[in-house]
Structures are given as C-alpha cells and as structure tokens.
C-alpha cells in the first residue's frame, strides 16, 4: 500500500505550534515566560521545599534582618517578622496562595464566561442581548466593594473572597467570547460545516474554538494580573486569608506597623507581588504580539 507521506521527516506545525514559535521570538517574552513557569512550580511545590514551616514561631529570632545585612543570620535568608516566622518560607507559601489562587480564579471565570458568551452568540435577538449584558451590572461595582458586600453576607474567609473576584472577572470574558464567536460565524468555513450537517456544539468545538483560543488566552493574562492585585488588596484589608496564612497582602498589612524598624517585612512581599504581576504581563504581551504577527501573516 502506498505511503501517504513521501518526506517522512518533514513535519508540519499545527497552528498552536506556530503560535509558540512566534511567541518565543522576543527574548524579553521568554524571560517573562520562564519567570511565570518558575512561579507556577514554586506554587505547586511550596509545601515541600520551604526550609521552615511558615507558621512556626522562632521566638528567639524575632525581627531578624535579611542575611546580607550585618545583624542577619544565614539560616534565615530573608529575615523574620515580628513573630519570629521565617520570611523566605512565608513568601514561598504565599506564592501558592496569591499566585496559585489567581490562576484558579481566572480559569474558573474563563470557563463560566466562555459558556455564557457562546450561548449568547448562538442565540439572536433579545435572548442574546440579555445573556451578553446581564452580568454587566457587576462591572459597575468595584471589586473590593463587592468583596466586602459578599464577606458581609457570607462571612469572612478565603473562599468567599474568591467568589467575589471570580464574579468580577466574568463579564469581560462574556463579551470577548461573544464577539469572537460572532465574528467566526460570519466566515465561510463555519457555513460549510453547518451545511455538512454539523450540530452547533460540533461547530463550536472544531471550527470556532481553535481559532479564538489565542484571543481568550491573551484576555486571560490581562485578567490574571488584575486578579493577583485584587487578592493581595483583599488580604491587605484583612478580608482574605485568615491571619496565620502567609498571603502576600496580609503580610504587607502585618509589616506596615513596623515599617521604620523592620522595612524588609514590607518591601519583600511588595517585591514578590511586583515580580508576579510583571511576569504575567510579559506573557500577555508576548501572546498579543504573537497574535498580531499571525494576523499579518
């Protein structure tokens, strides 16, 4: 039987692989991407690789400065806070809280937003408009205020603030999905699929989603940097993670009182937040850049 491919070694990149190639090109984006991956790995392995437990008090080493100053101690690389807890371990654990939870929040709101957006694009007329806009009322309330309201109703705790942030992030995904899907529906290959007898679900899955996934990812990275800042802000206000948990915003709030005597308790969590937001934004930039390069191609 004749072989189909005469040149066996030639490989044809799928569109996702092509996206990866054009994404990899600018070196800044690769640095940002590596930092992003580093943060994800840290978030997953935080429990295992911290040198000390993040909540253990070492009362003999209270308010120790970082190891590079004169009074520091090498066994506590980044110093300790006012209760003798190791800053390095707390920061690493905080990665899984602030950064890791932000990823979960974005994925949840992406999933819900895409479902509502697709339903809105499949229908027409009033039903479509209602689905598109009924969550817009959430856009009118700032996320912090919404979180306070939800905490007032449901009580304080980490899960409740997460619900608040998920709700705030959904409307943008609804709009973007609906516009992208409507744009795809105008194209001839979707009509060809429909004429072949494909059901709407099949059309969405094979013809539409592979082509809009880049837009969704670039919007998701934008949403993620907002989510990181929201989780940290809520932690700072004391509405998020309860006290012993080493969330970066809560650590900031804790260290503010002692800013003049122990500045490292403030600037270290702040730098961590800055680092994660920059990494996310670089990845988002790279994705949008790759998208634009593909469009021009």
């Amino acid at each position: 039987m004749a072989r189909d491919k005469v040149y066996q070694e030639e490989d044809f990149p799928t569109p996702l692989m092509q996206l990866w190639h054009s994404f990899k090109q600018p070196p800044v984006v690769m640095i940002g991407f590596c930092c992003f991956i580093f943060l994800i790995v840290l978030a997953l392995l935080a429990n295992i690789i911290t040198p000390y437990s993040p909540v253990e008090n070492h009362l003999e080493y209270v308010l120790l400065p970082p190891a590079w100053s004169n009074d520091g101690n090498v066994s506590f690389l980044l110093g300790t806070d006012n209760l003798g807890r190791d800053m390095l371990s707390r920061l690493m654990q905080g990665t899984s809280l602030t950064f890791g939870l932000s990823i979960i929040v974005v994925m949840a709101s992406l999933a819900i937003g895409v479902i509502i957006g697709s339903l809105s694009a499949l229908t027409t007329g009033i039903k479509s408009s209602v689905l598109n806009h009924f969550l817009d009322v959430i856009l009118s309330i700032p996320s912090l205020l919404l979180a306070i309201i939800i905490v007032a109703i449901l009580g304080p705790g980490l899960e409740n603030t997460l619900w608040a942030i998920i709700m705030v992030l959904i409307p943008q995904f609804v709009h973007i999905t609906r516009n992208a899907v409507k744009e795809e529906f105008a194209k001839d290959y979707v009509l060809a699929s429909r004429l072949d007898g494909a059901s709407s679900i099949r059309i969405l899955r094979y013809s539409v989603f592979p082509n809009i996934i880049e837009k969704l990812i670039s919007q998701a990275t934008l949403a993620q940097s907002a989510a990181i800042l929201d989780i940290a802000a809520l932690g700072f206000l004391g509405l998020g993670a309860p006290l012993p948990m080493p969330e970066w915003g809560a650590m900031l709030a804790n260290g503010i009182d002692m800013f003049y005597i122990a500045p490292w308790t403030v600037y270290l969590p702040g730098l961590a937040i800055l680092f994660s937001v920059i990494a996310t934004n670089l990845v988002g930039e790279g994705m949008r850049h790759a998208l634009k390069a593909r469009k021009e191609n």
Binding site: A2, D4, K5, V6, Y7, F12, T14, P15, K187, D188, Y189, L191, A192, S193, R194, L195, D196, G197, A198, R202, Y206, S207, P210, N211, N297
Partner: protein, 261 residues
C-alpha cells in the same frame, strides 16, 4: 435526453425589516422563479450585486429557508431545514478561498468531517476515499497532512472542490468560485470541472459576471436584476439576441464585439 435532475418551482425569498415593530415592511430579495436543470448541464446565473443571485444560491443549498416554493431533486422534494439530506445532493463552493477552509484543521480532518457526519464508513475506508478524492482534483496524497495556509489560492479552490465532491452529490453550486483566480489557474479549474462533469454526471450552477466564462462553460443562462428574472434560456440564444436592455448593456460592457459573432 436525460430526465430533469433539479426542478425549482416558484422559489422566492423576502425579509421582514426588523427595524420597525409596527408597520413592518418586507424586502423582496428574490421574486418567485422556476427553472429546470438536467444532468451533465450547466446553468449560469448572471447579475450584479444586489440582484439576488447569492440569495438564490443560499436557498438552493439550504442555508436559508424559502418564503414560497420548493425544490425537487429526481422527483424527491428537498426539505428546507434538513441539512443531512440536502448535503448528499447539493453542494457549494464559495468565492473567497481565504475563509472557506478552517485554518486550524489539516486537509484530512477537513475532508473527514462531512464523511463522519453523513456516511457510515470506518476509518480506513474514509482515509482511502479522501486519498482518491484528492487525486481526482489533482492534489497529492501528501497534502493530506498540510494546513490550509500552506496552499496557494488555486489549490485552496481545488480543496474546496474536493470537499464538495466527496459526498458524491448531483448538483454543485459555484458561487463566483472562479472570480478571484488568475487566468491560467482559472482555465485549469474549468478543465477540471469539465472533466468531473463528464465523469460524475454533475449539474453545475455557475454564478458569475464574467460573460466569457459563461459563454464557454454553460448551456443555459439566467439574467437577474434586483430579484427579478429578466431572461432565461439557452446561452447562445441570449448572447446573440438579447431582449432586455440590461442584458444588452452587460454584453456591451464586456467587449463582445471583439468576437466575430
């Protein structure tokens, strides 16, 4: 003399103007028309934009529901919303080859989809059928694993043609499919279409405004203007003795006087 393959009776389409809730106006896109097509024959539909030819194409292929009238193929009425039945008999090739092919699927997956949805062949049989169809349109079996962006415009139109013939239909509608091609590719495509018409006994409905191709390729011709049928009959008759002023203007503007008619 073969029997009538496709019979269209009193087909028309009008739209309701959605902007006014009271006193709705209806816009007539296509007035009631009827025609017949035999196998091995080509009908050309000529008209400018807004004349209703794309509406007619969409009605024939089933993408829109007609307001009145019905379509009969070999005596059997084609139900308006039933795509699965319709696609076995009437297929369409679109104009803009840039958006007719899904950029994230390989050619094999693209041609597999109509087979998966409409036939009961298993995987090896489908693979074999795809390979044979690609060879029929002049592409290699290698091309099965390529993506659409790797092909030129002429090749993309051939892939569209392969997608149309893979279900062995009886009628193919060419919605300005040849307009965007270069002249040499266009003549290659015309030769290919003529061969397929001979082999498979297809009937073509060619929508075009290039009267040279219409004269060469079609047996019968219909001239549309603003939804109305101005002329319908054999191509040679209409081009030699046009009755309507609009047809005369159309012929004049394409320099037919160069030929010794």
């Amino acid at each position: 003399m073969s029997d009538v393959l496709l019979k269209v009776i009193n087909l028309s389409k009008s739209y309701q103007d959605k902007n006014y809730w009271f006193n709705r106006k209806s816009i007539i896109a296509l007035e009631p028309l009827s025609f017949n097509i035999m196998a091995h024959k080509t009908l050309a539909i000529v008209g400018e934009t807004g004349s209703g030819k794309s509406t007619l194409a969409k009605l024939l292929v089933g993408a829109e529901l007609p307001t009145t009238g019905h379509i009969r193929l070999n005596g059997q009425t084609l139900a308006p919303g039933n795509f699965k039945q319709r696609c076995q008999h009437v297929r369409m090739i679109f104009q803009d080859s840039g958006t007719t092919l899904n950029p994230s699927l390989t050619i094999e997956q693209l041609l597999d989809e109509p087979l998966q949805l409409n036939t009961k062949l298993d995987e090896t049989e489908r693979h074999q059928l795809i390979r044979e169809t690609l060879q029929k349109v002049g592409l290699l079996a290698d091309h099965m694993s390529f993506y659409p962006h790797m092909f030129s415009g002429g090749q993309k139109q051939r892939i569209s043609l392969a997608r149309a013939i893979i279900l062995q239909p009886q009628v193919i509608i060419l919605d300005e499919a040849l307009a965007s091609l270069d002249p040499s590719l266009r003549s290659q495509m015309i030769n290919l279409l003529l061969d397929l018409q001979q082999q498979m006994g297809l009937a073509f409905i060619l929508i075009s405004h290039n009267l040279g191709i219409v004269r060469h390729f079609s047996d019968e011709m219909m001239v549309l203007c603003k939804g109305k049928v101005l002329e319908y009959g054999k191509t040679t008759d209409i081009l030699q003795k046009p009755k309507h002023k609009y047809t005369k203007k159309l012929i004049m503007s394409q320099r037919f006087q160069l030929l010794n008619h």
